[in-house]
């Protein structure tokens, strides 16, 4: 079978499962007693194992298998989660991610996982004994039926809640002990028959030993089952006894009290007793699934009730193709409008106008299709903050708001790294050590807020910590020491300007270089990246209270507003976002400073750039003109005036790349197709300002 056809599906789904594993593990770390989370983790791991085995990624499958073993013990309350297990599971997860990544890159997904597998096996084995002891304990409980002894066969909260619910719907939960005849040869087969019978009468909630162990005859002579059924005690007893080679059967009906006792009894071993309600709230999904088993017809409904969105996966390339086709249509539309206005026939004009309106609606939808919630980037940050807190020995929480805010796919792909850097920065330099925080009268645990929201044509992402804020004197001192500013300049800076020094190249306030941040190659790279996306980053801080980084991003990168200009016979586009204003200068107003041409603009002197020279224009030379049109552009704080031949006007343009063959063309950031079908190049203003 050709697996390649399934590879992309496998990668997508693996990533989904890895992500949900990551999230659930984090959640579980927050509430280690919640077994319903373990259930969903187990399911994800199990699916992942199955998929990788099918695809032939053996290492992936075997590592998942070992993780699953550990989770299985936890799931069955035979193992309590502790930080060692969490760390090992996280490590395993990282290894899995690396393997999937390798597969994405065309590799075989092989990796040396022996050390992780060894630690996982150690976890399983060291607990194996206590697991056995527990089984033995429940074995000895067989002889008696008092509910206190029943408690040895542990029920977790989730199972209890199912049984509670079943009672409300008129079913009766039972506790059944079955002992198989001593001379029985096929014990597993007999157990299977008992299970078959019980399943025909109702639903099995739990068995001790587990079904897997029973199937492999890993039990002595007796086993116990918690089941829900509508049949009476007598009927069940009789039916089970009718199976041959069954030595004895005890069926005990359970009521609310005994159920509560069952959950309460193992409290010391497994978890604090909790009433059914919070469990229901915490575990809507597994419960829904249980109900599905009972009534398959209700499946679709309960899944929708669980909030599963109705979506399909679409290859991003197809969306790009759609976008391309649409922009072609846009070009034709402009052409049609032009023709219609020339021909001046009313019905033609009406038809064209209607098409234009439909076209605009379509443009909105096509653009929306490319929008992705920022959650796709944010979802890896809880893990990042957790690891950060561990490495730094600090305590911190990450609070995410507005994860549903949508951004263009191209922006999303680029924004991850800068955000990682800012969050690390907040964790490392912002949040203080726990004892420092307590001394400052703050809660021991620091909080990092990550917020995203829309405003106008922009999306804002804020990273705010409640740490010690920016020490402006220190910032100034370091900036002077590192030669970013002179002492004289530093004294003139406003507080905001001092904060912005953090983004200057070669600046780092960390006293010592750490793994996390502080190599001095951080925030300036962040700023460059965000600026290249057409965005902006600012920082505000209150000393002693905290720091807030605010990142402003454009909604989309695929359609931008631009100024179209002419240079002789050639047309170019300049992004409106970097244009300050346009104007005209007289030839005699051009100043010469050290051989560089400058002009006076407002109260300052700014450099004058000849676009025709930069772009080696074949048929335009501004030096022939008495007065020249200029466009003042900005790059951060710096301004420059660019001389052009003629302004054409402002227009919405569709960004196109020049293709893989032409990369890094100086001064050109891309191309667009104009209404007349010609290609116009888009000028990169950042390249024009030194």
């Amino acid at each position: 079978m050709d697996m390649n056809a399934y590879l992309s599906m496998f990668i997508d789904e693996s990533n989904d499962h890895l992500q949900s594993l990551n999230e659930n593990l984090l959640q579980l770390e927050g509430s280690p007693e919640d077994l319903s989370i373990v259930q969903s983790i187990f399911r994800s791991a199990h699916t992942l194992k199955g998929m990788s085995a099918t695809m032939g990624f053996e290492d992936l499958a075997s590592l998942t298998h070992e993780m699953e073993n550990v989770l299985d013990l936890v799931r069955n309350s035979k193992l309590k989660m502790d930080s060692f297990i969490f760390d090992t599971l996280f490590k395993g997860l990282d290894a899995l991610e690396a393997m999937v990544h390798d597969i994405v890159g065309g590799g075989t997904g092989q990796a040396d996982v022996t050390s992780i597998v060894a630690s996982l096996q150690k976890i399983v084995n060291s607990d194996y004994r206590s697991g056995m002891a527990e089984a033995a304990a429940s074995g000895s409980a067989m002889q008696e039926t008092s509910s206190a002894e029943l408690g040895k066969a542990l029920l977790d909260q989730f199972q209890t809640s199912i049984m509670m619910q079943s009672m409300e719907s008129g079913h009766q939960p039972y506790y059944i002990q079955v002992t198989i005849d001593e001379n029985c040869v096929l014990k597993a087969a007999r157990a299977y028959m008992v299970f078959n019978l019980l399943e025909a009468n109702g639903e099995i909630v739990k068995s001790e030993p587990t079904v897997q162990d029973l199937e492999q005859e890993k039990f002595d002579r007796s086993f116990t089952v918690f089941t829900i059924s509508t049949a009476s005690v007598d009927v069940l007893t009789e039916q089970i006894s009718n199976i041959s080679e069954i030595a004895s059967v005890t069926v005990t009906p359970l009521d609310v009290e005994s159920l509560n006792a069952l959950t309460a009894a193992p409290a010391a071993a497994a978890s604090a007793p909790a009433p059914a309600e919070p469990v229901q709230a915490a575990a809507p999904q597994p419960q829904a699934e249980q109900q599905v088993k009972k009534a398959p017809a209700a499946q679709a409904q309960s899944q929708q009730g669980g909030g599963v969105g109705r979506t399909i996966r679409v290859d991003i390339e197809r969306l790009d193709t759609l976008m391309n086709l649409f922009s072609e249509l846009l070009i034709d539309r402009v052409r049609l409008e032009q023709l219609a206005s020339e021909i001046k026939r009313t019905d033609l004009t009406e038809a064209v106008e209607h098409m234009s309106r439909v076209g605009s609606d379509m443009q909105n939808i096509v653009l929306k299709l490319r929008m992705v919630p920022v959650d796709t980037v944010f979802n890896r940050f809880p893990r990042l903050v957790r690891d950060l807190a561990k490495t730094l020995d600090k305590k911190m929480d990450l609070v995410i708001t507005g994860a549903e805010t949508e951004l263009d796919r191209t922006v999303i792909d680029e924004i991850g790294d800068p955000l990682v850097h800012l969050i690390r920065n907040s964790g490392d330099h912002g949040v203080e050590m726990p004892q420092e925080r307590l001394a400052a009268g703050k809660p021991e645990t620091g909080t990092i807020h990550l917020r995203a929201y829309h405003s106008g044509n922009h999306v804002f992402i804020e990273i705010e910590d409640d740490g010690h804020g920016i020490n402006q004197d220190k910032v100034k001192a370091i900036a002077i020491k590192n030669g970013v500013v002179t002492e004289e300049e530093a004294n003139k800076l406003s507080p905001d300007e001092i904060n912005m020094l953090l983004f200057a190249p070669g600046f780092s306030t960390a006293d010592k270089i750490s793994d996390i941040s502080g190599r001095g190659v951080g925030l300036d790279v962040v700023k460059t990246k965000i600026t290249s996306l057409g965005g902006n980053v600012t920082v505000t801080s209150a000393y002693g209270k905290g720091t807030k980084f605010s990142v402003q991003l454009p909604l989309t990168l695929s359609i931008i507003s631009a100024m179209l200009i002419k240079l002789g016979s050639e047309k170019y586009a300049i992004p409106l976002s970097s244009i300050v204003e346009t104007g005209i200068i007289q030839r005699d107003k051009i100043l010469n400073v050290h051989g560089n041409r400058m002009i006076q603009f407002r109260s300052s002197i700014i450099p004058l750039v000849s676009l025709s020279q930069v772009l080696e224009s074949p048929d335009y030379d501004e030096s022939q003109e008495q007065e020249t049109e200029i466009i003042v552009i900005k790059k951060g704080e710096k301004l420059a005036a660019v001389m052009v031949d003629e302004f054409i006007g402002q227009s919405e343009i569709v960004l196109k790349s020049l293709g893989k063959y032409l990369t890094n063309v100086y001064g050109i950031s891309g191309a667009t197709i104009l209404g007349d079908g010609y290609v116009a190049l888009i000028i990169d203003p950042n390249a024009l300002i030194k």
Partner: protein
């Protein structure tokens, strides 16, 4: 008997060249080309190929032959190799033929002034016609272009 190859035949000057059909996306008449500044001389610019911006190179210039003004017969052959999509300006493109891969012989060092590494081989057709098969990945080799650009600067 080797495998059958379907080949698009085009002309540069007096010689006939061949590119496998499955590498060719489309053949277009000359259309307006937008010049891209600061690129190698043989890169003529970009065209709008039904909504996609495609770079165009003059194959004569690429091979170091004298460039000529485009004529009525000039065509742009758009090829796609390893995610690269590039248009070649050729003097004319007028035939699709089947050739037997066994008839392709390795090229001599220089054919019509073109270095052998750009060539996959020479196919002998009937009536003494010779067809020069191009090695597209070498023709589109970017590292060489970068070297060329550095030489020009």
């Amino acid at each position: 008997m080797g495998e059958e190859l379907k080949v698009i035949v085009f002309a540069l000057g007096q010689e006939e060249y061949g590119i496998e059909v499955d590498k060719v996306r489309t053949i277009e008449r000359m259309s307006p080309i937008t010049r891209v500044p600061k690129t190698a001389a043989f890169i003529k610019g970009v065209i709008n190929l039904r909504g996609v911006v495609v770079p165009v190179i003059d194959l004569r210039g690429r091979f170091g032959l004298d460039e000529t003004e485009p004529t009525e017969n000039s065509r742009i052959i758009v090829v796609a190799v390893d995610e690269l999509e590039v248009g070649f300006i050729v003097d004319s493109a007028n035939d699709v033929i089947d050739i037997d891969s066994d008839t392709i012989e390795s090229p001599p060092e220089i054919v019509g002034g073109i270095k052998a590494k750009y060539l996959r081989g020479i196919a002998k057709l009937s009536e003494g016609r010779l067809l020069i098969m191009l090695n597209l990945s070498e023709v589109l080799n970017k590292s060489e272009i970068i070297q060329l650009e550095q030489l020009e600067v």
